[in-house]
Amino acid sequence: MMRNLLSRPGCWVLAVLVVAALPFLVQGPLRIVAISALIYAMLAASWNLTLGFGGIFNFAHVGFFGVGGYTMAVTSVSWQWNPWLSLIAAALTGGIAGALAYLPVVRMRGIYIALITFVFVQLCYYLVLATPGLTGGSNGLSGVPALRIGTLSLAATTGQGYLWLLGASLLALYILLQAVMNSGFGKSLIALRDNENLAVSRGMNRIRQQILAFILSGSIAGVTGALYVSYFRVADVTLFSFGFVTLGLSMIFLGGTGHIWGPMLGALVVTLLDRQLTELGSWRAILIGFGTLVVLIFLPRGIAGVLVAARSSLSRRRTRERTETPNTNNSRGLSPSEKEPEPTTTR
């Protein structure tokens, strides 16, 4: 098996150093791009739990993100909660939203799940508009307080604290998802995606496993939405917009669904592209959409898939050169992956 990205102590140190150095590496107007990229990376990586590893056409994920965002705004602005407590509440409401979104699709498959879960996002949108007393309606809720540690605001010095918090959160999310996908639960999600009948005959309760995946990914999306609202200080109905759905999907498919870090990488690429193409107005969405289509057609495993395949190929070549021995496989044909195993889908 391929080792995960943080399997070596050196990688750990490097990852922590990069997070610590983020405010020094990213200065000025680039900070908002970096913060957006980190937030989108968390959104895309948590979405991939159900969409990529679970193989469920779940479009409701943006809804969980919005629910978390509004939880932060309502509880911290209207109810004056401590923003850290609001963050915990966002994890809870995101998880509950995940469970609620899954219930109508329990018996459904494929495109029907996509349609129903997209309706969930639309319901959230109209629910916000229908309850202006709570959510601010079409005006949204502004003046969301920034997260603070003691008297120090994380928004101070153009978001230095947020860069640290989001960098550390993304690292923690990677570790969490790695642990989840290496656990029996994570493998059962892949098993149910790969072969539902076999998985059920091997004791896996599809509904239980999938609802747990929705709750977990919803909870992470809720926290991500709360961090987004906390940084930008406002929650409005655009949190539930179709733009977030297409943006998130572009990131996941461009990065690659088969690896935890694929959507994270996709988020970075799409955010940077999006920023570079700002002057093109509506054309930027068209270009990013077209680019995603091209990737889906020609690189179905995304950038991560290409990188991993290249690494495996290089590694095989090195092994061949080092051993300089002819192929000794038996007539029943051991595949190359048995000599130099391909990475699993969970890394």
Partner: protein, 250 residues
């Protein structure tokens, strides 16, 4: 009650009473009753569309249970249980084509099955033992989709062998195998049967059933056509007619 069920003096490990499955107006399984005793190897044969795999589906609940009748396993009625719970009772099946968790490694295929079938082995010892029993230890780190056909067949069996199985239902295990691989598979199944596992085998390769089965049944058009010792059943004129379309000339 069917004579097959009522005549037994000891309780059957599996008993099926008047099981039926109807798709629209088509009776895929039509009032089938049979029993399987502990330690027995039962062979099931019949022409295509006879209802053999559908019968396995009804027993395992995957992907559907029966419309009528009842199924008992180890004195417990199972036809109303959710499918995932049936596997945990020790009743396991394989599928006609090679059904695997293709993007997981060979070991993970068995490991995840062990976890959800109720294996108490946290260290994976149960998994490693199952892989060893079928001779797949050397492939354990390979991706399941990359291994050869016989290894795929063995992997389906290995994932059913964890967490104390009592009955293993094999759907065309020899399909697509050459004669050498068939011999290896027969040897493996003999070993499993020798270790006390009860087997039900659907197979078109009748030589495999002749070698393994203690008893054999023939299904045709969803009904039980014949039942008895393999040689006796395969010489039955009704069976020959079902396979060949007409009775041989006297």
């Amino acid at each position: 009650m069917d004579p097959l069920v009522s005549s037994a003096s000891t309780p059957a490990l599996l008993s099926i009473s008047n099981a039926s499955k109807i798709f629209g107006g088509f009776r895929a399984v039509d009032n089938v009753s049979l029993r399987v005793d502990e330690g027995e190897v039962l062979g099931i044969a019949g022409p295509n569309g006879a209802g053999k795999s559908t019968l396995f589906n009804l027993v395992s609940g995957v992907p559907f249970g029966p419309d009528g009748g009842s199924i008992h396993f180890d004195n417990q009625r199972i036809d109303r249980l959710p499918a995932h719970a049936i596997g945990r009772l020790g009743l396991r099946r394989t599928f006609q084509a090679e059904q695997l968790f293709a993007t997981l490694s060979v070991r993970d295929n068995v490991l995840v099955s062990a976890k959800y079938l109720g294996s108490g082995s946290r260290s994976g010892a149960d998994t490693d033992e199952a892989l060893e029993r079928v001779g797949l230890t050397g492939h354990s780190q390979a991706l399941a989709s990359d291994i050869p056909l016989l290894a795929k067949k063995k992997l389906m069996i290995a994932s059913a062998l964890v967490a104390k199985p009592r009955l293993l239902m094999l759907d065309e295990p020899a399909g697509g195998l050459n004669t050498d691989d068939q011999a290896e598979l027969v040897s493996l199944l003999r070993e499993l049967q020798g270790q006390g596992l009860t087997l039900i085998i659907i197979e078109h390769v009748l030589s495999v059933l002749r070698q393994l089965a203690h008893r054999m049944i023939i299904l045709s058009s969803g009904r039980l056509l014949a039942e008895g010792a393999p040689d006796e059943v395969l010489a039955n004129p009704l069976v020959l007619e079902a396979y060949l379309g007409k009775a041989p000339a006297a």
